[in-house]
C-alpha cells in the first residue's frame, strides 16, 4: 500500500473552498488533465485527456467535516484506492485562510506516483484559481 499527501494553503474561507470541492461535477474546473465528467447515482466517471475513462465511487461528502472521499473502481488497474480531501479552517475572521489536504492510499504502489503528481498539481491549480478570484473581488 502506498500513501501520499499534498496540501496547499488558500486565501479563502473554508466555505468558499468547500463550495467547489463538494460538487463532484466541478472537478473539471480545477483538475488539469480531466476533460469530461458525468454522474450516475454515486458513481462519477471522469475522462482523462488521454481519452481514458475512470470510474469512481463517491464515498463521503461530509458537510460538517468538509470532507470529500472517493474510490477509483476501474478500469485503471487499481486493487485498492481511497482519496480524501479535507478542507480545514486555519484563518481568522479578519483573514480567511484554508488548508486543503489531499491524501491518497492506493495499491498497486506505482499508481501513487501517477496520481500524486497529478493531485499536487491540481490543488495548486485550485488554489491559484480561488486566490485569483479572491483578488478580483477585493
Amino acid at each position: 500500500m502506498a500513501t501520499s499527501r499534498s496540501q496547499v494553503r488558500i486565501s479563502r474561507s473554508p466555505d468558499d473552498v468547500w463550495a467547489v470541492l463538494r460538487d463532484p461535477m466541478r472537478i473539471v474546473e480545477w483538475f488539469p488533465g480531466i476533460t469530461g465528467v458525468s454522474m450516475d447515482g454515486d458513481v462519477r466517471t471522469i475522462v482523462m485527456a488521454s481519452g481514458l475513462p475512470v470510474h469512481e465511487d463517491i464515498v463521503t461528502i461530509d458537510h460538517r467535516l468538509r470532507r470529500f472521499q472517493y474510490k477509483i473502481t476501474g478500469p485503471l488497474p487499481v486493487n485498492f484506492h481511497l482519496a480524501t480531501m479535507d478542507v480545514i479552517d486555519i484563518g481568522s475572521p479578519d483573514a480567511p485562510e484554508t488548508l486543503l489536504v489531499y491524501s491518497t492510499e492506493i495499491m498497486p504502489d506505482p499508481m501513487s506516483f501517477v496520481l500524486d503528481g497529478a493531485t499536487s498539481t491540481a490543488i495548486a491549480n485550485l488554489a491559484s484559481i480561488l486566490n485569483d478570484h479572491a483578488e478580483e473581488r477585493s
Binding site: G33, P108, F113, A118
Partner: protein, 512 residues
C-alpha cells in the same frame, strides 16, 4: 554558412558495445569509422545512470542539482535552459527525432507538452527545439511512433514486449529460449521497427530544410534499452549459444557473491530480490536466478539491436553525403547511461556507479571542412555535461554562463590544460514504499569513489572505492582499506567542493 551538427544518441548502451571500444560481437563499422576519423573518449560519464536526469543534462549542459531532474518521473520544465534554444537563436534549425524523455512517459492526464503534442499529431517542438517527432521503446504510449504504428501497422503493435504488468510494475515475464526477463521475439518488419523509423524521420526532417541552412539534429534511438525485442528476422545475426560470457560475470556463485557482499548492502539486497531501487528493473525479478545462458541471450539481443542502429546511422550519413553536406557536419555519438548486461550477475541498472552503467561510448567526428582531425583517444574524465558547450563551440557561439560543462577536449594535453580532472555521478531514488537510496560518485586519477548518504538502506558510513588501474573490473572495494583512507578523504572533499547540491523536494511526478 556554419558547421552543421548531427547528435546521435542511443539509450542504455555500454562503453564496450561498439567495435571502436573493443566490442567483439556487434559489427558497428559506421560508428567505428567515426572513431577512426575523430576523437574517442575513454572516460566519458553521465551525471546520472537513468534516462531523464542524464538527458536533461545533455540538453541543458547542467548538473542534476541545477536542472532539477533528479530521477525518472521528474519533468524538465519546458522553459528550462536548452542548448537547442541557444542554437536556434543563433540561426540554427533544430530538431529532436526519437526518444527525448525530458518529461514523464506514464502520463494518462497528458499533463506534459511532449505527450500532448504527440497525441494531437503535432510536431511542435519543446525545450527549445523547433521540431520534435518522438519514439520510445515500443509501440505503446503517447508518442509519434506509437501513433504511426497505430495508424499504419496496428497488427504489429503486439509483437513488442509488454513492459508493464497488470499492477503497473515493470514486467519480468520470461522470454526467448532461456526464460530471460524482458526479451521477446518480435515478428515486426524491420522497416517498421523504431530504429528504422527514427532514421527515416530524421532524413525526412533534413529533407524539409534548406540546403544552406545550419542545423542541429538530435537523432535519438530508443535501443538498446530493455525490453530487448528486435525484429525476429534479424536474430540470425548473433547466435546466443556461441557467445562468451561477459568478462565481468563471475561464474562461480560463491566467488560472485563474495564480490557483491564486499559492496554496500543494497547490492546484495537487490541480488536476493529484497530490494528494487529503480522502477525500471522488473519488480519481481531476482538477479540471483540469472543463468549464464540468460546472460548470453540478453547480450545477443542487445548486439543485434546495436547492429541495426549502426546500419541506420549509415543510411543517414549516406543521405547527408548525397545532400552535399558530408564535409560540413560535426557528428557526436554517445548514449545516456550504460547497462549491466550480466556484469556481477545483474541486468538493467540502478544505484550502482560502476563502469557497466557509468562509462559511456562518446565519439566526436568534427566536420572535415573545419578540422583535419587525426584519430585521437582522450583518457581524461569528460561527461555528458560537456556536450551542450561543445555544440555551442562548434556553432561558434560562446557557451552561456548557465552551462556548467566545458567544450570537449581534443587531446589529453588539451584536457590537462583546461582542467578536465574529474567527473561526478549522482543518484537519488524514493520508492512508493518509502525506500530511498542516495549516492554521489567522483571519478578522478583513475579512482572511482562513491559515498552513500543516510537513507532507509544506508547509514551514511558505506561506500565504494575502486582503483581502475589495478582493478579495472571494480571487484575489490577499497572503501575500508586502511591504506586508502587518505586518498578517500581527499576524493570526498573534492567531490563536495564540486557538487551542485539541490534543495528541491524529492517528489516524482510519475514512475518513469
Amino acid at each position: 554558412m556554419g558547421r552543421k551538427i548531427l547528435f546521435i544518441t542511443t539509450d542504455q548502451m555500454r562503453y564496450d558495445a561498439i567495435g571502436a571500444n573493443g566490442g567483439r560481437v556487434a559489427r558497428t563499422p559506421v560508428i567505428d569509422s567515426l572513431a577512426a576519423n575523430g576523437i574517442s573518449y575513454d572516460r566519458a560519464q553521465p551525471t546520472n545512470v537513468v534516462c531523464m536526469p542524464s538527458r536533461a543534462t545533455m540538453v541543458t549542459g547542467q548538473n542534476v542539482g541545477t536542472h532539477g531532474v533528479w530521477m525518472n518521473g521528474v519533468p524538465l520544465p519546458e522553459q528550462s535552459a536548452s542548448v537547442a534554444r541557444v542554437l536556434g537563436e543563433a540561426g540554427y534549425r533544430t530538431a529532436l527525432i526519437g526518444k527525448s524523455h525530458f518529461e514523464p512517459l506514464l502520463d494518462p492526464f497528458l499533463r506534459f507538452g511532449e505527450n500532448k503534442h504527440a497525441m494531437l499529431g503535432e510536431t511542435t517542438g519543446s525545450h527549445g527545439f523547433e521540431f520534435m517527432e518522438l519514439a520510445t521503446h515500443g509501440a505503446a504510449g503517447f508518442n509519434h511512433y506509437a501513433q504511426w504504428m497505430q495508424k499504419n501497422h496496428p497488427e504489429a503493435m503486439g509483437g513488442f514486449f509488454q513492459v508493464l504488468d497488470r499492477e503497473l510494475e515493470v514486467s519480468g515475464v520470461p522470454g526467448g529460449d532461456t526464460g530471460a526477463p524482458q526479451i521477446k521475439v518480435n515478428p515486426i518488419d524491420p522497416e517498421w521497427y523504431h530504429t528504422d523509423w527514427v532514421a527515416r524521420q530524421t532524413m525526412s526532417w533534413l529533407d524539409s530544410i534548406g540546403t544552406d541552412d545550419d542545423w542541429f539534429c538530435w537523432m535519438s534511438f530508443p535501443d538498446p534499452h530493455h525490453p530487448w525485442d528486435p525484429p525476429a528476422s534479424e536474430m540470425h545475426r548473433v547466435n546466443w549459444r556461441e557467445l562468451d560470457l561477459p568478462e565481468n560475470y563471475v561464474e562461480d556463485r560463491a566467488a560472485r557473491e563474495a564480490i557483491i557482499d564486499a559492496k554496500p548492502r543494497h547490492w546484495r539486497k537487490w541480488y536476493d530480490g529484497e530490494l528494487v531501487s529503480n522502477y525500471e528493473a522488473p519488480a519481481k525479478w531476482v538477479p540471483a536466478t540469472l543463468t549464464p545462458d540468460q546472460i548470453r541471450e540478453v547480450n545477443a539481443y542487445a548486439h543485434v539491436e546495436n547492429e541495426l542502429i549502426d546500419e541506420a546511422i549509415g543510411r543517414v550519413l549516406a543521405y547527408i553525403e548525397a545532400k552535399g553536406w558530408g564535409d560540413d557536419v560535426d557528428i557526436v555519438f554517445t548514449t545516456d547511461h550504460g547497462e549491466f548486461q550480466g556484469d556481477f550477475g545483474f541486468l538493467f541498472k540502478g544505484p550502482y556507479h560502476v563502469d557497466a552503467l557509468a562509462r559511456l561510448p562518446l565519439i566526436w567526428r568534427p566536420a572535415p571542412s573545419a578540422v583535419q582531425q587525426d584519430p585521437e583517444r582522450v583518457s581524461k574524465p569528460v561527461g555528458l555535461l560537456d556536450l551542450a558547450p561543445t555544440f555551442c563551440a562548434i556553432a561558434g557561439v560562446t557557451p552561456p554562463a548557465w552551462m556548467e560543462g566545458k567544450p570537449l577536449p581534443v587531446t589529453d594535453a588539451d584536457a590537462d590544460a583546461r582542467g578536465f580532472e574529474r567527473s561526478l555521478v549522482e543518484w537519488d531514488s524514493c520508492q512508493p514504499d518509502g525506500t530511498d537510496v542516495h549516492c554521489r560518485t567522483i571519478v578522478r586519477d583513475n579512482l572511482v569513489c562513491t559515498m552513500y548518504r543516510p537513507g532507509t538502506m544506508h547509514d551514511g558510513t558505506e561506500g565504494e572505492l575502486y582503483d581502475l588501474i589495478a582493478d579495472p573490473l571494480q571487484r575489490v572495494n577499497l572503501w575500508d582499506d586502511p591504506s586508502r583512507q587518505g586518498i578517500k578523504a581527499d576524493l570526498l572533499a573534492d567531490l563536495f567542493d564540486n557538487l551542485v547540491e539541490s534543495t528541491m523536494e524529492l517528489r516524482p511526478q510519475a514512475p518513469v
